[in-house]
């Protein structure tokens, strides 16, 4: 069974109805689902924090964002749930609904996200051979990646990410490079740029 089929099987979870419009290859599908899980964790934290503070504009913007993510990956029923909360919180309209139902929503999204991560872990493979890179080449690669991140150039960053994932320094530095790669993959460019600058300041390259 491929990733898309496994993903559709998540209908088994209560409150999730998957009608996926994902059409890319397995690897791209995996990337989108990974990004969803990564992002939804932060969004749920933000929603719970906004709820606790009764900050309805912040709640509304965040729940709108997670609705968009859910609908983009095809999780229709959860997307509708988010939409209901968005409407209820809009201009503080019917916040009693938000107070009563946010816990249930957060629990369902979290469970859904955990299931996705569980599926993705079955498909992940770290067996690809990596090529040793020397310091001047690494310095050049990171400088180009820093420029792409600073410019928010998705195309260039994506191409450089592919290069970054293929190389190794065979040293402790690899762990930091993996962290940078993860941030670039999740389009957290400001954080990636900061991590690259930190390496530079530490004199690593």
């Amino acid at each position: 069974m491929d990733i898309v089929e496994r993903f559709i099987s998540l209908n088994e979870i209560d409150g999730v109805f998957v009608r996926t419009k994902l059409q890319p290859s397995d690897s791209e599908c995996a990337l989108l689902l990974k990004a969803f899980s990564h992002e939804s964790e932060k969004q749920i934290e933000e929603i719970m924090s906004a709820l606790a503070a009764r900050d309805w504009p912040r709640y509304c913007v965040t729940v709108h964002g997670i609705k968009s993510s859910l609908r983009t990956i095809g999780a229709a029923a959860l997307g509708e749930f988010a939409y209901r909360l968005e409407l209820a919180s809009k201009d503080g309209g019917d916040v009693a609904v938000c107070v009563a139902e946010t816990d249930d929503f957060a629990g369902k999204v979290t469970k859904f996200s955990e299931k996705i991560m569980s599926i993705l872990s079955e498909y992940s493979s770290n067996s690809e051979e990596k090529e040793q890179i020397d310091m001047p080449a690494l310095k050049d690669l990171l400088a180009r990646l820093l420029k792409a991140c600073n410019e928010f150039n998705l195309t260039a960053a994506d191409e450089l990410l592919t290069e970054l994932k293929k190389i190794t320094t065979n040293s402790a530095l690899d762990e930091k490079l993996d962290e940078i790669a993860e941030k670039v993959e999740m389009i957290e460019y400001s954080e990636a740029a900061t991590a690259i600058k930190n390496l530079k300041e530490e004199g690593v390259f």
Binding site: Q23, R71, I73, G74, F152, L154
Partner: protein, 128 residues
């Protein structure tokens, strides 16, 4: 060849949802250099520094509205006539009407299919 960049078209996507940025970049890969911003505050420096050939804008953003950004784009000398696609879950009649009066070229409702985005891209770029 593009007269401004001498190469691929430049597209700026403004959307706070990472997977929308990812999908757009993957869908247009090979056709355009895609820049992405998750906030108005991130988008404005890109608009000032780059010559963008096509904008793809969401409406609801954490620090403001895509409609405000659309006004900003239309008011700029460099991008006043640059095509704009609105890509949003808020595809209400009112939003479509407002966007049309502000000179939006195409309106795509979320969730979108890749082929819809490709068709709109080709239309805006005059690609047959």
């Amino acid at each position: 060849m593009d007269q401004f960049t001498g190469g691929k078209k430049k597209v700026l996507v403004v959307d706070d949802v990472a997977i929308v940025l990812m999908r757009t970049a993957k869908t247009l890969s090979g056709l355009a250099d895609v820049f992405g911003a998750r906030l108005l505050a991130e988008a404005i420096p890109i608009i000032e520094e780059q010559h963008i050939d096509l904008f793809i804008l969401d409406i609801n953003l954490p620090d403001g509205s895509g409609m405000t950004l659309l006004d900003y784009i239309r008011a700029s000398e460099r991008h006043a006539k640059t095509p704009v696609i609105m890509l949003t879950a808020n595809a209400s009649r009112n939003n479509i009407k407002t966007a049309a009066t502000k000179g939006v070229t195409r309106f795509i409702a979320k969730p979108f299919e890749n082929k819809d985005l490709l068709t709109a891209f080709k239309f805006c770029m005059n690609i047959k």
